[in-house]
Amino acid sequence: MTKNSALKKVVSAPYLVWAALFIIVPLIFVVYYSLVDAGGAFTLDYIKSIGRYKDIMLNSIWLGFVATIICLVIAYPLAYIMARSTKNVQRTMMMLVMLPMWMNLLIRTYSLMILLQDTGILNSVFSFLHLPERHMINTRGAVILGMVYNYIPYMILPLYSIMAKIDYGLVEAAQDLGASRTAVLRKIILPLSLPGIASGFTMVFVPSVSTFYISKKLGGSTFSLIGDIIEMQFKSANNYNLGAALSLILMVLILLCMAIMNRFTGEDDDGGVLI
């Protein structure tokens, strides 16, 4: 018994050190910076200034939410089809999902910008086909497209891994007992895949809400998100305190959203949930 727990300690040590150094300590710094002013004296001014950033925070959360829902709608059937396919098809489809992730997010977003521009590739194709040209870049839709495009693998992967584990016998049993297709989906597939939905939701929602590069390139920085404002505080405005305060509040808001999300899935979760 003692030997076992000693082994546990040794095995978990690298991660504990990692977590302390790169998660706990930075978090303490964020909290500290958000509660002091430039001189190091205690102040709540930065936290209180949240009122001024309310609109942009809501906007970021909303765009992130919409992107996440779109990801879910696209990824859910795909993950189901993947899970039901033969091993060979699964491998190929998995490859296609992973392939874009081999390229850097910055490059993918930059190429989206070049595709969507008024003088970009898509519009050139439209005008070649004598279709009306469309203004796509620097709109809210472009930002959401960027989020969906970049983060959809993070929705597909957890959904797929959960669905691959679903015992198909349950579906057959339900069908034998006369359940309709919708009943099978509603009563069997959906409840069993809830942990996958929850972790996919987290993995897409969190980076979407706090992104800054995507909105900068595809929103033309006229559609700034809270991530852009936070980045600006650290990168050029040299206001670490405001930046930290905004990050902290954003973290709390994201936690709140995740808590609401967990109310939907919490009751039946079996360890697949991230938060």
Binding site: I56, F65, T222, I229
Partner: protein, 405 residues
Amino acid sequence: MKKLLFLLLTLALLGCTVFAVSAYEHEDYYKGAKKGEVLNVFNWGEYISDSYEDGMLDVNREFERLTGIKVNYVTFESNEDMYAKIKNGGVSYDIVVPSDYMIERMVSEGLLQSFDPESLPNYHYIDSKYKNMYYDPDNTYSVPYNVGMVGLIYNTKMVDETPTSWKIMWDEKYAGKILMIDNPRDAFAIPQKILGYSFNDPDLKQLDDVAQMLIDQKPLLQGYVMDEVFNKMESGEAAMVPYYVGDYIIMHDINPDLAFVYPEEGVNIFVDAMCIPRTAQNVDAALKYINFMLDPEIALTNAWYIGYASPNTAVVENEDYADMAENQYLYPDDEHMPNVEYFHNLPQETLNRFSELWNQIKMAGGTDNSVYFGFGVTAAVIVFYFVYRFFQKRRRQYWYDFPEA
């Protein structure tokens, strides 16, 4: 056999003279580097000649070849980015290249160290016009690298008039085709001149007026840009942008439809200069590097590549450079000289207001009522779901309790 050896030797000698790149001035000055010496340089992006194409030189490679010092070259996008990095430490650079007002600020905060430019053998090439500048009255902190002005770059295919005023950037005709420069000092400078203000008035009320103009302009903008400006202007994606003259010269080579003007209200003139931060680790190599940048050959290749005006007399007087030296945008004579003003450092209170207003400008617009509507609908759906679940549970419970009912 002897003959062959002789021939080989002659060839080798010839080879030496043919392949040796022309010598630099005062080569002795660069001697004596220790093995493994490193020099950390922090400069603007696209601000040094970095290839051997078209008869130019890769300046950093040349410096490494000449001195044996390894150059670690890092770039930044704006004075403010650079300042934030230096101010917060963590990294130490041996050379930085801030603009005038930023040098003033960094000197006042003790972020730069003094040195004696007169001790550099090539310092006499610097035009006396650019010595004893307001930001460095005794020439103890900086050596000028480039000089430039901000003007309006526009696409003649998309703008049918010939602009003379900054006001065209508020013209609704060009909505969605206007780009704005993405750093606070340069962006504020434009409404400041339209309103007839100085760049350097610390008055907070004036700043508010200026910010309001930028917020009003925002619906007309395609975006705020820095280095993306090249792509957007060269491809004809945007019609106009206020930007640095040197970059116009580069863009014009690629897209000849682009034209340039110094609007009548006035423009910003700036000097970017090489400085040594207080935390520099290798001052000796830094001085060598600064001197190397002043070398006529190197300064010339840089002036060609970067396209900005050079404060180096050896460049301006060079015959090969004559067509650039006659360019009235780069080196305007008295007749073509626009109404110019330098940026100065501002008091802390004004700087704080600056960044507050800049945040507000960046956040303006973008959010409309559809967001609140969306949140409302989502909240309603969530509430409905829980109410539905609640009643469903009650119903089930009822069946369990009274199965025969």
